[in-house]
Amino acid sequence: MDIRVQQERFDAGAELNGFDPNGAGAVVTFTGLVRDVAGGLEEMLIEHYPAMTEKALREIAAEAEARWQLSNVLVIHRFGSLQPDEPIMMVATASRHRDAAFEAATFLMDYLKSRAPFWKKETTATGENWVESTVKDEEALKRW
């Protein structure tokens, strides 16, 4: 398990190539990128709770390892000031079974969305806006 909370940009391709499947045949990745928004995004600022963030991510990844047969798990999540098209975060899962790799990655994303202590603020020409959580994201947790 490799969990990283960092300000620096990361290279998703290099992370995929460096991710050791430990002999498994199925590797799934999810990469989240800063999307532009109506009005033009000047900055996405990601705030987090340093004393809690890594622990929360480790607990979520450990839960994925308990539910699926995974041979490796990677979670990277950035904080700080980001620009459009930059990578925000990435998860990778490896398993002997493709369904396990897909489901575990989907699970990790659902929990990162609503249970990891990050908050996003978008700045456009018209002002600042805290991104709001959605009912859909909260509902997504119920499938697990």
Partner: protein, 81 residues
């Protein structure tokens, strides 16, 4: 007890964290105490359903006990990923 605020809760209260001495037995009692203090707390805690709380860095509930607790954090629903 260290009380920590994030995102628009932090912005409304105007500081990221503060040391608070309280006799509140639960998170909800602490919230009531803070709301009674000043308008900026009232603004931050007006709608409890829009808030989440972590007690000693674990997601928790507003009826959680504060016994032996060292840090309480208030924030809006998380938007990671």
């Amino acid at each position: 007890m260290n009380v920590v605020y994030f995102a628009w809760v932090r912005e409304r209260i105007g500081l990221p964290h503060e040391q608070i001495t309280t006799d509140a037995a639960t998170v909800a009692e602490l919230v009531d105490e803070l709301r009674a203090r000043e308008a900026r707390y009232e603004a931050a805690f007006a709608d409890i359903s829009a808030l989440r709380v972590a007690v000693d860095q674990e997601l928790s509930d507003f009826d959680a006990s504060l016994k032996d607790v060292r840090e309480v954090a208030f924030f809006p629903p998380m938007t990671g990923g």
